[in-house]
């Protein structure tokens, strides 16, 4: 887009209203629904009956075809195909059309269109992340409500399993996009001194793919649900109800979105940093975001393929994972965790990097050992693709490989320790400016320490033989993904809120929600650690009376978290609507995003900036 903008002569105004001006979220949903219905009806009519008695196969075909039709219809309706179609015809979009796509002078409507402006995409990501966390949180409350008493009971087991699976997968998706989505799209290009992303249309594509993906997942809830947990192990997924197809489509589309976003963000950072922004002067958040999306690049194609094979097993009677036909469930487990372990660092690294970015600002001193921070991020990224089979120690797949995987897993504690060193080193003897993000750094160190140490117990093969599949594991990864990851993401929201919305985040509300969430969180998962150690398996809808107390504690803690999150939500809405107008640089930080005025103009910078010093030069003038 930027290229076209520089040559306005290439474009000439057309008298006819171009087709892209008619496309928005309404046409997208309409076209998606219509095409899904048409294909469903046609498939119902013309697909031949199964030759022998089988569970589901014909219905699977019909469901998957309709969902694919939904996907194609939706993407056409939102306008994703306009530009590619134009290229096929040997033309390109005109300047006016590009400006339209960027959402120029369009007000609120641009948030409901295929808008290429990275700031619009960032806000879209922020809102969808909050919606995801809202739904995921409600599902979590349903789980806790059901586990309030030992006999469980008021939710049917099938529905309960589906709630657990849906909670798992959408929280995973929410946490994957929580930093790289809003912050990575809105702040990152400004931070590196660019006018937009490298591929603005791909940016819009990556967001609308998530919206397109959401519908099959919701659809799934009405045709049997996802009763397999978020990991959807085969062959259990093979015998699960039709809702499983919704999961498969959801993952395929979401994986596409992640791949597109990953390629886009990586290219942007590598190619579009401002003049003078050498790798030494690139803020640490940028490293975190790039490490995250670059890890997703090898991980998510594998996830995509694993689900394609799962869908083929269901709909086309192949036997990739079906032991009766010569397949193996271990194949699925391997593919799943080859995605699954890098994926937890996809979530964690940018959140920790965001807090590293804030640490110098709130301690008024340089980031301690920038090089070690980069080494830590790189080390974690490198090792994280070599550890997947620690999820399979007791699967029986390859007992001889347990020792090597134990080695690689425990090695990760070294680069993780580097991240601790950097944060603690920055806080030590700093002049602490007490804000909610500052306290979040301490909260992260506390939660991540517990998550990390319990991770070492779990990485140990004999201990894992006891702990695997118990609530202990659930508590452990909530400590890392929520206690560390989400804490960082919420701090990032409060920190960059003035730049993203032009208003300050309400201070009092940020403190109230911080303490409620952190205290509730630690209560919740302390209870869960205990029941895990006592021997309660994961994903159960009822349990022996022995685990009563721990579960009660967990349920109460969960309610506190939920209340804290509601306070946060109220804080976001009220501050966004009528918070104090933010100055250009409320935190007196030294990175580039604070040098642009509020509201940020369409292409961020009139004159592209030149960077002459590192972003953490606090106290330099004294020397």
């Amino acid at each position: 887009m930027t290229a076209t903008m520089n040559h306005p002569a290439a474009a000439a105004g057309k008298s006819r209203k171009p087709i892209i001006e008619h496309l928005n979220i309404v046409t997208a949903f309409a076209l998606g629904a219509i095409s899904a219905f048409v294909v469903w009806r046609l498939a119902l009519q013309f697909l031949p009956a199964d030759t022998e008695v089988r569970l589901f196969t014909r219905e699977d075909k019909i469901t998957l075809l309709s969902m694919i039709a939904w996907f194609v219809g939706f993407m056409t309706g939102i306008g994703a195909l306009v530009a590619p179609f134009r290229w096929v015809m040997g033309k390109d979009l005109s300047h006016d059309e590009n400006m339209f796509l960027a959402g120029k002078d369009m007000g609120i409507k641009r948030y409901f269109r295929y808008t290429t402006d990275h700031k619009v995409v960032g806000i879209q990501y922020l809102v969808i992340t909050m919606v995801i966390f809202g739904i995921g949180g409600i599902l979590a409350m349903l789980i806790r409500a059901n586990l309030g008493t030992p006999e469980g009971g008021w939710i049917h087991p099938q529905a309960y399993n589906s709630i657990v699976g849906t909670h798992g997968i959408i929280m995973i998706v929410g946490t994957i996009i929580m930093v790289t989505g809003p912050i990575g799209n809105f702040i990152m290009p400004i931070m590196i001194g660019a006018r937009d992303m490298a591929f603005p249309r791909l940016n819009a594509l990556s967001f609308w793919l998530i919206v397109a993906a959401a519908v099959p997942l919701i659809w799934a809830q009405f045709i049997g649900g996802i009763s397999t947990g978020w990991s959807a192990y085969n062959p259990l997924a093979g015998q699960a109800p039709l809702g499983m197809n919704g999961y498969i489509m959801f993952i395929c589309i979401f994986a596409l979105s992640t791949m597109v976003a990953g390629a886009n963000i990586t290219t942007t950072v590598v190619r579009m940093r401002a003049k003078g922004m050498t790798w030494n002067r690139t803020p640490i958040l940028i490293y975190g975001i790039v490490a995250s999306v670059a890890l997703a690049l090898p991980a998510f194609p594998v996830f995509f393929l694993s689900q394609v094979m799962s869908g083929m097993d269901r709909a086309l009677d192949t036997s990739f994972y079906n032991p009766a036909g010569g397949g193996s469930g271990w194949l699925y487990e391997n593919l799943f965790w080859i995605m699954g372990h890098p994926e937890v660092y996809v979530i964690l690294i940018p959140a920790v990097a965001a807090l590293m970015e804030m640490a110098p600002v709130f301690t008024r001193r340089p980031l301690f050992s920038f090089n070690v921070a980069v080494m830590g991020i790189a080390g974690i990224s490198g090792l994280s693709v070599l550890v997947w089979a620690h999820h399979m120690y007791i699967s029986g797949w390859a007992p001889l490989l347990n020792a090597p995987f134990m080695l690689t897993t425990e090695l990760i504690s070294i680069p993780t320790g580097m991240l601790f060193l950097v944060l603690v080193g920055t806080l030590w003897r700093g002049r602490l400016w007490m804000t909610m993000p500052t306290m979040s750094i301490f909260a992260l160190l506390w939660n991540f320490m517990i998550g990390g140490v319990t991770g070492i117990y779990l990485s140990d093969v004999p201990a894992d033989a006891f702990l695997h599949g118990s609530m202990y594991v659930t508590a452990h990864f909530h400590y890392t993904l929520m206690g560390a990851g989400l804490t960082g993401a919420i701090a990032a929201l409060v920190f960059w809120f003035p730049k993203m919305t032009g208003r300050m985040f309400d201070k009092k509300l940020s403190w109230v929600s911080f303490w409620m969430v952190q205290i509730g969180f630690n209560v919740t998962f302390a209870g869960m650690f205990i029941v895990g150690l006592q021997g309660q398996p994961r994903r159960v809808e009822a349990y022996p009376a022995l685990f009563n107390h721990g579960n009660l504690v967990t349920s109460i803690g969960a309610a506190v978290i939920m209340s804290g999150m509601l306070v946060l939500l109220y804080g976001v809405i009220s501050s966004w609507r009528n918070g104090v107008k933010a100055p250009m640089n409320p935190w007196q930080a030294k990175t580039l995003e604070w040098t642009v005025p509020n509201p940020i103009p369409l292409e961020n910078f009139d004159v592209l900036p030149t960077v002459t010093s590192d972003p953490y030069g606090y106290g330099k003038e004294k020397k």
């Binding site: 029986g396 080193g425 003897r429 602490l432 007490m434 140990d460």
Partner: protein
Amino acid sequence: MTDLMPPTKNKWWKSPDVKKTFILWIILTIAIGIFGSQFHILSMPAPASDVMSGVIGLMSLFSWAAAPVAALVFAMCITALTSSRHYGDNPPADADHQISNSPRANATWISVSALLCLFALVVGLVVFQKEADAIHEENAIHVNVTGQQWAWNYDYANGARSETLYLPVGVPAIFHVTSKDVKHSFWIVEMGIKMDANPGYTTETAVTPNKIGVFNVRCAELCGLLHAYMQNKVHVVSKDDYEKWLEDRSALEARP
């Protein structure tokens, strides 16, 4: 860690911040070590096999190994939090100590974490090897464990079958675990062993119960609708009782 201090002429260890951190570190190390190990020991069920005792010992040992590291981080956090705080809407002046790197601190930190990592690995491998050897025990009894939605079936060498596991005390038992439908996970909670039951494959795990009593088997892998109810008891009995039970059972099976 000490090298985080600025290179001044004063001796770094005389700084009040360092003293405070050091005292906190000692106190917190002891507190975290005791809490961490007791948290695990008290929460985990009483062991019914040496394997489980080993696991509890490991957890306790790792808690103590992690305690100094966690204590150091927390001690430094507390010192930072208690020494210089600033409230208000405008930032404070830049901090006095502007040190942006310390190669010695980095090197110390990384080598200590590498050593701890090596320690965890070696300890883990020693226990792991002991357990791996148990599968080759010669005078062991063999039980075929079959998971199916949502129950366990046990087949013994002499043709006896049951839905509740019986084991003789003090005799190594080797389990050949498989599944009829989807993946399950065979977990004898108090004995600290777990092995997935995979359809189409048979996998092995072994344990020697060392206590007479009734213990729990739970399925540890989501296996569908009634996963939560796929649990059962293990009866560990004396060797004589076991022989008797086995004969009764096989006679029951042999009946036309």
